[in-house]
Amino acid sequence: MTPAFYSPLIERDLDGAREAISAFRAEHDNHQLFLAVTRFALLAYAPSQHAKHALLACLAAYDLGEDGDILTECALYAASSRQPWSEPPILDPPPPSGRGELAEVYEAIGGRDRLRAERWLSARYQDQDFAHDFFTVAADDFEDLGHKLIMAAAAWRLADLLGEKGRFATLRVAVWEWTAYRGTRHYRETGVALDRHSLAMRLVDNFVCERGALVPAHALFLLDAANAAEPFAPEVAMRVRDYLTNYTNEMPCNDEVGSTSASLVYNLARDYGQLLKIHALATRFPNGDRLKAAAAYNLAHAPSFEEMSFA
């Protein structure tokens, strides 16, 4: 932690932040920049749309090779979306709850009791078999377009990237997401899940047909999160595919977005970092060029979110 780097970000002095990041880049490589920016985004995280998408953007930047200019935009996005701190975030885990049973975290989520959920996490996060329960809880409901699992999958990856010291604080991101809003759509599986590739093809078509709109984009992000969870909890991946199969239709259409392209160095608040995140996702999904073109089209044509304060 270097005050010269973080102070302008904390103060939302964006010009000063650009200078500080530039100075940082002169002395550090891009991976170190990724770590510094992502740690800031992690501390700035709140279950608001801009704050969580700033953190997701950092992970997308990592997937795309840790470009310094993109990471700079990630830092500015995190700084702009950070809610005021009345005191520094607490990084240490709270006292663990009794045995860390699943019923306990489900009750905490139902009651939107964040501290209780954190104590469950504190009891469990170092267990060998924790990943299975972590993803199982995250996929219990798909409120807010599946962000409970999307954030859990991102937090799991970031916990490995950022190191053991901040592991609890990183995984806590998911717990805060789970308890921030009620999930009233407890989904009952119907046994119709498409296989991974077929569903991906359908969702890509829907995304392009919708010209890169936000809702079909998040169906892709949810499937991507399910794929990430699959090695730890195969039934979670099946559950998500069942849900997405049920709640989407085949939507063949003409490719209306052509070969639209856009720079990845842009004000990420405009589309919640969607263009950047789609480019990262495209490295793992079929028809990457169509995905990128649709996301670029959306960035150019859809209403901007940049002035939706803290939303």
Binding site: A46, Y181, T184, V215
Partner: protein
């Protein structure tokens, strides 16, 4: 604010702007999400209220007035009259 509620809000604004702009094509590039009705009443309006206490004031949470959210600068430029239906549709 949850994304479906946010999109519904934007969708309302888009429609309202179109109503007050003669000659403006009545199109939108993002279709408002169709929020599933829920027995506990977590519709878009309720969610808008609920989410604001996602962080306590002690933790630095703020009540974000929707008045601060300005009308997006971007306007739709498409002239096609087709409005894309949301992909979400339950089969059974």
């Amino acid at each position: 604010m949850l994304l479906p509620a946010l999109l519904a809000l934007l969708g309302c604004r888009e429609r309202k702007a179109a109503e007050h702009a003669p000659g403006t094509p009545n199109t939108q590039t993002i279709a408002p999400a169709q929020a599933d009705p829920s027995p506990t009443g977590t519709d878009a309006m309720t969610q808008t209220v609920d989410v604001e206490d996602g962080r306590s004031e002690e933790d630095g949470g703020v009540i974000t007035s929707k008045q601060t959210a300005k009308t997006p600068k971007m306007t739709t430029t498409t002239t096609a009259t087709t409005t894309h239906a949301p992909p979400k549709k339950k089969k059974s």
